[in-house]
């Protein structure tokens, strides 16, 4: 279990990246959603003990972030950007990481790296230099290094960025399998990455936790706020572009799906059942409106 208590992070130029974050993350896949700049990466870097929080603390399986060396020994981490020494082969690279994670027995190391290369579908390329790998292959190698040593906590920051749909599915399945009995903290701004397999979701926005709960709860955030209807093209241009979730051209006009507290004026809309993404967007939108109404 990860318990995050009153975590703040302020960077040098006064930018508040995390603002009193309190979360409790339990075993299984945990999705961390939020728009760009919400503070997801800062939170993950703090949990991966790459940077210090300005204040507050987190306990990972009861160990404080202050015991950074102990935390590092139990986590696997894949950052948003991932590059590896291009002169190494995939197998050499994983062998290096395995040694660093304390796997001193060469035979076990070889077996583990082979298994992981197989898992990430890189077994055939295991002895090719990494400089010959495509972006997706490197990303898969990245997840393999994070999984090495079967860490109790896996922190992956936007792992599916740059992957094709097939690889993305494979990736999700891999993480899902790995999350059995462990905590996998997955950050993304793509809702589809988490909707199929996350047990718990947290939404960050502007450094703060906007939501923490399960998929259904997030989805419910959009209840009564999602509208669908046909609009003429002239009216469409008058709609708030931030509220339009999707549009589709039909014979009658444009079929629009809009998130709003009430149907837009001039639009014959009906309330529809929100999807997870609708719930997420509705949550963000309501927060933005709250912010806009603030006098400061």
């Amino acid at each position: 279990m990860i318990e995050i208590n009153h975590l703040y992070k302020m960077y040098r130029k006064g930018h508040l990246a995390l603002d009193d974050v309190n979360l409790t993350l339990r075993e299984g896949m945990v999705g961390l959603l939020g728009p760009n700049g919400a503070g997801k990466t800062s939170l993950m870097r703090i949990l991966a003990t790459l940077i210090r929080p300005s204040s507050g603390d987190a306990l990972i399986h009861g160990i404080s972030l202050k015991q950074a060396e102990d935390i590092r020994a139990m986590i696997g981490y894949l950052p948003q950007q991932f590059q590896v020494y291009p002169q190494l082969t995939g197998a050499e690279f994983l062998d290096y990481v395995a040694v660093m994670k304390g796997m001193s027995d060469p035979r076990k190391r070889r077996a583990e790296t082979a298994r992981l290369l197989e898992e990430v579908n890189l077994a055939e390329k295991a002895h090719k230099r990494i400089r010959t790998y495509s972006g997706g292959m490197r990303r898969r190698l990245g997840i393999a290094q994070a999984l090495l040593g079967s860490p109790q906590v896996l922190i992956v920051d936007e792992p599916t960025a740059g992957l094709d749909p097939e690889e993305r599915v494979r990736f999700r399945n891999l993480l899902t399998r790995f999350s059995l009995g462990r905590i996998v903290l997955l950050s993304t701004h793509i809702v589809a990455d988490i909707e199929s397999n996350c047990r718990q979701i947290a939404v960050l926005d502007q450094g703060g936790v906007r939501f923490s709960g399960d998929l259904a709860e997030l989805q419910a955030s959009g209840q009564g706020k999602v509208w669908e209807g046909i609009v003429e093209e002239g009216l469409f241009s008058e709609l708030d572009p931030m509220s339009v979730v999707s549009t589709r051209r039909t014979d009658e006009g444009l079929l629009c799906r809009v998130i709003a507290d009430a149907p837009p004026l001039g639009m014959e809309a009906v309330a529809v059942r929100p999807t997870l993404e609708d719930g997420y967007l509705a949550l963000l939108r309501s927060r933005q409106e709250e912010g806009a109404m603030r006098p400061w």
Partner: protein, 731 residues
């Protein structure tokens, strides 16, 4: 340790698998080998190699700087390599592994620098022990420079994650080497700052000599090396500390303790070096402040005043910590002290006098600066001569303020010039003079000749592990002319007359001789080939002149060929001629030595006001003129066209000089040339023999000079020429 080894392997791979990086040491080795193979056999290979290394090694520090920066920038403080920061791996492990891998690569250069020198020097037949010592010196100098440069580069890259670090690194490289050397160390004589110089070999030109070079400063090198290592450690500790500040650690206190200890260690390591220089500077500035040392402008025209000393019996022993303990017995004729109330002697201030006896009884004495005064009155004045006995001691390592030394005796490296007054000289003489213009201290002899008595010397030296050399002939303990010095006895005795003072030299010398010459050359192992070459050429001259110079009396019996920057000017001392060379190579030394051997000194030539009153300079040149005409087969025109060594013939070729307004030298040359053209060379030789027997030596004349100068006027030439030519005509 498993992690460190794996990390080291990871760091090693990109370096040793990089073709370009691997080409560089090979390229360096090829260039170095080519340079060493192309070096003239007459040049000292060590000095040549040092010159090459001081420049090229400094350039290779650029590689060290670049490598250090790249090693860090490869994966540290790079967002895309953040995964590595999340590994359970300390920055200490990462930084030290990177450092070790880069240093291993740079060691290839160090190994080449040492090994190639050893190989080429061995190829010249130089003793292996000497080669290895020099090779190890090159290797260690390279390593120390790489260590600190690499550590500096890594720290810079840790502090500056931006690409601007390349520019800063370049500036640090340039500032830490060339700029620092030219604009700080040398311009302001701040040689103490050499310790912060990135290049160990570039820092001190004086170290670049086989003789009295780096070997003289081994203590300093060890102390500076210790500091540089500690400083490199501090830089690495600083890099690790900075990185740990960026990443949480539970060992923060331990990290700060390590950083603090590194700082303390570096400061502590600086202390021995600082104390060494503090001693040098305090000795130097004490003299600058001393009122007994005159300003150059106040010296006046009066020469140093000296008196006669009939005999010297000196016993010099090297004792513990290189302290020289000297017992000097001086036999002074009472007549030389007439009118005096005290006996004034000049003895270098660094010696502490423990006892003075006169006539076997202890007497009081006073010291002021370099002056030692002993009362001379009462009973002592009644005796025909005074036998003074002095006991004094001191360690000699006298810094000259310009990176070198006035004198030294460190282990078996000895340079005790007579003018340094390491034994008591008569009268009050100025060993040092302050130069008002540059606010510096200069050796007194530069401004005024030091007066030495024409005395009989006996010098015994003990306690040195290798042979020392002086201008006096070496004898056995019982006066045997054989050279009895053996390492087991460690005692040498020199005995004979001396009028130019006594200098004592020690170093890694070899003796080179030629059976056809009554002289030998003492030099260093890597200058042996030059010495052999000079002896061979000199022997040819010698054979020629002995074939017709009837009263030929060799004026020198020993030559010291010393490539060093510790002394600057050649000296002739009691039959020993010492050449002090900086550039190496053969500069026509055989002719120079033959001139000294045949004609003796010409140091007093500046005192000749007019050639008409004294033609000894043209006469000396005429001896060589005959050589070039007869032995080399040159015509007078050839000689005028500069096909002969101008230095020997200048008095015959230099027209319209102030001292020879009538061009007597030129006309004498023509006169002799025409006689030789007319087949009358034997008459010419007879005339020159006549003048040679009169003495063609030109010593400096002072009121106290034991030998009075006898000028040869032009009239004597005319008279003898006429007589010689007519006599032959009549015959």
């Amino acid at each position: 340790m498993v992690k460190w080894r794996r990390q080291f392997a990871l760091e090693w791979n990109p370096i040793f698998r990089n073709v370009w990086l691997m080409v560089l040491p090979a390229f360096f080795g090829i260039i170095y080998a080519w340079f060493l193979s192309a070096a003239s056999p007459f040049n000292n290979l060590f000095n040549e190699a040092y010159g090459f290394n001081s420049l090229v090694h400094t350039l290779t520090l650029g590689i060290a700087m670049l490598l250090g920066i790249i090693a860090i920038r490869r994966d540290i403080r790079r967002p895309s390599y953040e995964w590595s920061t999340g590994l359970p791996l300390t920055y200490g492990t990462r930084i030290t592994a990177k450092y070790a891998a880069a240093l291993t690569y740079l060691t290839l250069f160090s190994l080449l620098a040492g090994a190639l020198f050893i190989a080429f020097s061995y190829g010249r037949g130089v003793d292996a022990a000497v080669n290895i010592a020099h090779g190890v010196y090159f290797f260690l100098s390279y390593e120390i420079s790489y260590m600190v440069t690499l550590a500096l580069a890594m720290l810079l890259a840790v502090c500056l994650p931006n690409r601007v670090v390349y520019l800063i690194g370049f500036c640090a490289w340039m500032f830490g080497t060339f700029f620092m050397q030219l604009f700080i160390v040398e311009r302001y004589h701040l040689y103490i700052l050499g310790i912060f110089h990135l290049s160990e070999l570039f820092v001190q030109g004086k170290r670049g000599y086989e003789l009295w070079g780096y070997s003289l400063e081994v203590d300093e090198l060890l102390k500076s090396g210790l500091f540089v290592l500690a400083f490199a450690g501090l830089l690495l500790a600083a890099a690790v500390t900075i990185l740990n500040l960026l990443r949480p650690t539970k060992h923060a206190i331990r990290q700060w303790v390590v950083a603090g200890l590194s700082l303390l260690l570096a400061c502590g390591a600086f202390a021995p070096y600082g104390l060494l220089w503090q001693g040098r500077y305090s000795s130097y500035f004490d003299k600058i402040k001393d009122d007994t040392i005159p300003m150059a402008d106040d010296l006046g025209e009066n020469p140093n005043k000296a008196f006669e000393i009939a005999n010297y019996d000196l016993v010099l022993e090297r004792t513990k910590n290189d302290v020289l303990a000297v017992t000097a017995r001086l036999d002074i004729p009472a007549a030389a002290l007439q009118g005096e109330q005290e006996i004034n002697l000049t003895l270098n201030r660094l010696f502490t006098v423990s006892e003075v006896k006169a006539g076997g009884r202890p007497v009081s004495f006073a010291r002021r600066g370099d002056l030692l005064s002993v009362p001379w009155s009462g009973e002592l004045q009644q005796q025909e001569s005074v036998l003074l006995e002095l006991r004094y001691s001191g360690a000699v390592m006298e810094y000259n303020g310009r990176g070198g030394f006035y004198a030294f005796a460190r282990r078996d490296l000895v340079m005790l010039p007579g003018y340094f007054a390491w034994y008591p000289l008569p009268g009050k003489q100025h060993l040092y003079v302050k130069d008002d213009w540059s606010n510096s201290l200069q050796a007194g002899w530069v401004f005024r000749e030091i007066s030495f008595p024409d005395a009989q010397y006996r010098l015994t030296v003990k306690g040195f592990n290798s042979k020392l050399y002086t201008s006096l002939p070496e004898t056995g303990p019982q006066g045997s002319v054989e050279r009895p010095y053996a390492a087991e006895g460690k005692t040498q005795t020199f005995q004979g007359p001396g009028k130019d003072g006594i200098s004592l030299f020690g170093g890694p010398f070899v003796e080179v001789s030629d059976p056809s010459l009554p002289s030998r050359i003492i030099t260093t192992p890597n200058s042996t080939e030059l010495a052999k070459h000079v002896l061979q050429e000199w022997s040819g001259y010698y054979q020629y002149f002995t074939s017709w110079v009837v009263d030929f009396e060799p004026k020198i019996h020993q030559v010291g060929y010393f490539e060093t920057e510790q002394m600057m000017s050649d000296t002739a001392e009691n039959g020993m001629y010492a050449i002090f060379s900086r550039g190496g190579g053969d500069n026509g030394y055989a002719g120079l030595l033959m001139t000294e051997m045949l004609l003796g000194t010409r140091r007093g030539s500046y005192q000749i006001e007019n050639t008409r009153e004294d033609i000894r300079l043209p006469l000396r040149s005429l001896m060589w003129y005959v050589y070039y005409r007869e032995a080399e087969g040159l015509s007078h025109r050839d000689i005028e066209d500069g096909r002969a060594d101008f230095r020997m013939l200048s008095a015959l070729l230099h027209a319209n000089s102030d001292k020879d307004p009538d061009n007597l030298g030129v006309s004498m040359g023509k006169q002799v040339g025409e006689a030789i053209d007319a087949g009358r060379i034997s008459e010419v030789k007879e005339i020159l023999n006549y003048f040679y027997s009169q003495g063609l030596e030109i010593p400096v004349e002072t009121p106290d000079s034991p030998v009075k100068v006898r000028p040869i006027p032009y009239e004597a030439w005319e008279r003898e020429w006429k007589r010689g030519m007519e006599r032959e005509n009549g015959a």
